[in-house]
Amino acid sequence: MSKTKNSKPGLKWLFKMAWRDGKSSGNKLILFIASIVLGISAVVSIQSFGVTLKDNISSESKALMGADFKIDSDDPPNERVLQIMDSLGGPKASEIKFASMAAFPQNKATKLMQVRGIKGGFPFYGELETEPKNAATSYQNQGSALVDATVMLQLGIQTGDSIKIGKVTLPIAGALKSVPGSTAIFSSVAPPVLIPYRFIEESGLVQTGSRIDYEFYFTADANTDLEKLDENLDPILDSEEADLDTHTSTSERLGRRYENFGKFLNLVAFIALLLGCVGIASAIHIYIKEKLRAVAVLKCLGASKRQTFLIYLIQVAFMGFIGGILGTALGLLLQQLFPYLLEGLLPVDVQLTFSVQVIVMGILLGILMSVLFALYPLIGTLYVSPLQALRVIKENSTKSRKAVIFVSIAIFLFIFLFSLWLLEDWKYSLAFVGGILATFSILAGIAYLFMRTIRKYFPHNWGFVARQSLQNLFRPQNQTLTLVLAIGVGTFLISTLYFSKDLLLAQASLESETDSPNIILLDVQSNQREDLAKTINTYDLPVLSDIPIVTMRVQSIAGKSVAEIRKDSTSQVNGWVLNHEFRTTYRDSLIASETLESGTWTSQAKDLNPVPVSISENFAEDAKVKVGDQLVFNIQGVLQDAVVGSIRKVDWSRMQLNFSLVFPKGLLEKAPQFHVLTTKVPGDEKSAVLQQELVEKYPNVSIIDLRQILNVIETLLGKISWIINFMAFFSIMIGIIVLLGAIRTSKYQRIKESVLLRTLGAKGRQIININALEYLYLGVLGGLSGVALSFISSQLLAWLVFESPFVPSLIPIFIIFPGIVLLVLVIGLSNSLSVINKPPLEVLRKEVT
């Protein structure tokens, strides 16, 4: 016996064995690969698009601003600001921007528009896209206007028609297709009209109380350190109530806005990926079950448990690698669809690129998820006795408790870390993992309770078929838990996606259903109030509210002047409180969107000094004040002492005028002010005629048509729901794969039993009915549990997050639920057909050997 040649086979042999075994088992891993591919492609498509969008925004940051940096202010710049601008070489272009009604005399249409008076060569980067093209440059010299292209299309306006803005009427030089830095959808409430700067004064629209932005555009040398410039100048400009923005800071801010949206989509994609993981675990479970005999033989031949474990682990990792590559490729292809799905929502024309980081992430994620979710079935190979090769012994399913706990912890840790990476908030991530854990536990609990209840109250007097199908649900080797989990989780995720969409839509359309105003008239001067109200009344329309607005600034907080607070580096007071020009009102009662949090509401100022003012919660928080604290306001040059009388909680999401500061009656009546009037107009036609007359008579008054805003929000949500549907499609596809996997797991068991029944004389129809009823019970139980769970979680979301009533869509109940039950039936019964159509012995030989 010479045994000298043995040296342990290394990794190379393990790879060789993994390859040999895997190459002829490939078709058995289709479910596995499909789960990874779909899961990874969902994540990669969203991730890749997010990175691409961020890169695009960053690379086009100059074009997004149209300049290297700008200085803006709510008021005409003071001496100090002018000096700073001079020291920077003076602005290369200036702009005055405000919202105003515009009239189109040719077709008697009116529209709230953002009037932008431009002087100089703006934009310096990017371009004004116009039709005809030369209008972008010629409008300045010709003294004409560029009008938003969509408005022109909607109102049937042609180039050469005229536009009336305040007192000035200008010819339209062309249609404005895009301006650097603005998105179609976000500017559709007040679309832009560009006019030469010199006509602004003439329009007569720059009056007291009007909200006007003054913007000054600068260009800089390539070697100018814009970050340093921002650092040095912004604090000085802040104290002069102006602001400096560089193109990089603007694009970063814009990038963050889309990042939040991306985070939500990432989470949805992650859910699809998690479903894919259930698919992985289920597919590997079947695969490994079929390999246990081979593992026993290998152990008989002298392979160690580590070697047999590694052979299959390598296979799984390799499949994960392949799945990762395919999923990443599919994801990158799918992201091409996103610019079409999100058309009009994006700030830049997205040039799709392939990010190496995302590609690496996709592939690594494929490997990691495969290995992690295959570990649980894989550790089964460690505990296979070589004795199984010698004869059929009862499968030893006792896995090490330690190994199972270790794998479970690893899985939850992974889910937590991945969601933390996506959400960047450990509390949300923890809640997300907790939610998943709770969902699985509840579904498992339902399955367990269901089995116990049937066993306890078993209907012994039922017929053979009904009894047999019910018994299938709780006897040994039953599939109740697996299928209820798979069906339940899939249904839960898909229904939750739909319900979330409903919540978002309900939030937006809520206001349109109530009896609230739908026309808001801004900037009504005190001397116009009565006439304007009369005009409204002639149309048999009510003036629903007449809200006085007084503008003012904060002069001091708790005895410390704004200037002192600005200088105090330890001050916690938020900058906007110090710089903002507040639009305040006065009235004697709270309105529907307000609730008193603390203090006492004062309805009449009488001779009180300091006057008690009611502040909103966010103002209190940002100004670091509480009830009883002293405040001084500068009301257009007049200082007014005040004390915090009460703090209000304000629902800012309501589409009505809300205020940070509300004064009691009897103090501000004589202060310079303007008014906001509201009315409700039924029908578009009447609304158009009224708006037309109002614009003609009161050119300074801006009209906000809330129905237009709702349309914009609905369009926005429509686009978002496209993406949600897109992701739901992934979830459904993966859900089907999970279902296929779960049903295939018990295929051999079912076939053996069905064949036995056939051998004993059962008719094909009886076997079909037994199986059909079993899958029907499981489909109904899993589907119903999933819909119910998603209903509860959405209701919680409505209460805790959206704070709005939840009117669930009927789609999950009437389409998704029956659809899933049908799917379970079809997949389940397709398993039984081979039993029905062939002789029992042939089936046994084919299926069981």
Partner: protein, 229 residues
């Protein structure tokens, strides 16, 4: 001659529900090197359990087994796997070829586990020896039962084991094929000087060995040396 296998006071029981089923009771025997040995007995007498214990596939409740100089109860699972790889060959009733590997790859696996770089070359020679030189790249499902058992024999002898355990080696074959496989088994055994332990129902096959151990109800009822016919 030296003893390759010593079994003393071996006991094994399985629990079946609440009952404890004694499968083997006080089993004592020895096997000399290079001898052929048959374990016979009716169904349920404990033959296969005894074979599994002797080969280190399972652990006894009490008693000791010394195989190739190693006391099995002193070895952990991986050490027993190493011992099997070094010293033991197996032939199973239902062949137990790895269905995803070709005939050649199946034969090469034990050699590869020893790190033998000539595994495939040796495997090919062995397959030629058992008459399957033209089927080396076929998968088990493409071979007949007799051919599969010949591959299994080639695999069993590939590492030149000190002892070979065969569990009903012809149990799944028709009489004619079974006879050919028996012939091949004994030829290869003679050639390599391996100790052969066969578990069988087949008295004719048992009679071809030098020693018969008869079990009944988990106990040895006969343990006799005989002349090879």
């Amino acid at each position: 001659m030296a003893k390759i296998l010593n079994v003393y006071h071996l006991e094994k029981s399985y629990s079946s529900g609440s009952k404890n089923l004694k499968v083997l009771q006080d089993i004592n025997f020895e096997v000399e090197e290079q001898k052929t040995f048959a374990i016979v007995g009716p169904s349920g007498s404990g033959k296969t359990t005894l074979l599994g214990l002797c080969a280190g596939l399972d652990s006894p409740d009490s008693g000791s087994i010394t195989l190739c100089g190693s006391e099995l109860s002193n070895l952990d699972e991986d050490e027993r796997a190493l011992l099997r790889n070094k010293h033991i060959g197996f032939v199973f009733q239902d062949f137990q070829l790895l269905s995803t590997l070709t005939a050649l790859e199946n034969v090469a696996v034990p050699l590869e586990l020893q790190g033998d770089k000539k595994a495939l070359k040796i495997g090919k020679e062995l397959l030629e020896k058992v008459g399957l030189g033209d089927r080396i790249h076929h998968y088990p499902s493409q071979l007949s039962g007799g051919e599969q058992q010949r591959v299994a024999l080639a695999r069993a002898f590939s590492t030149k084991p000190s002892i070979l355990f065969a569990d009903e080696p012809t149990g799944n074959l028709d009489a004619e094929t079974g006879e050919k496989v028996e012939e091949l088994l004994f030829d290869l055994n003679r050639e390599s000087g391996t100790t052969l332990i066969i578990v069988t129902h087949d008295i004719e096959l048992a009679n071809k060995t030098q020693h018969i151990l008869r079990l009944k109800g988990g106990k040895i009822v006969e343990n006799r040396e005989k002349q090879v016919q």
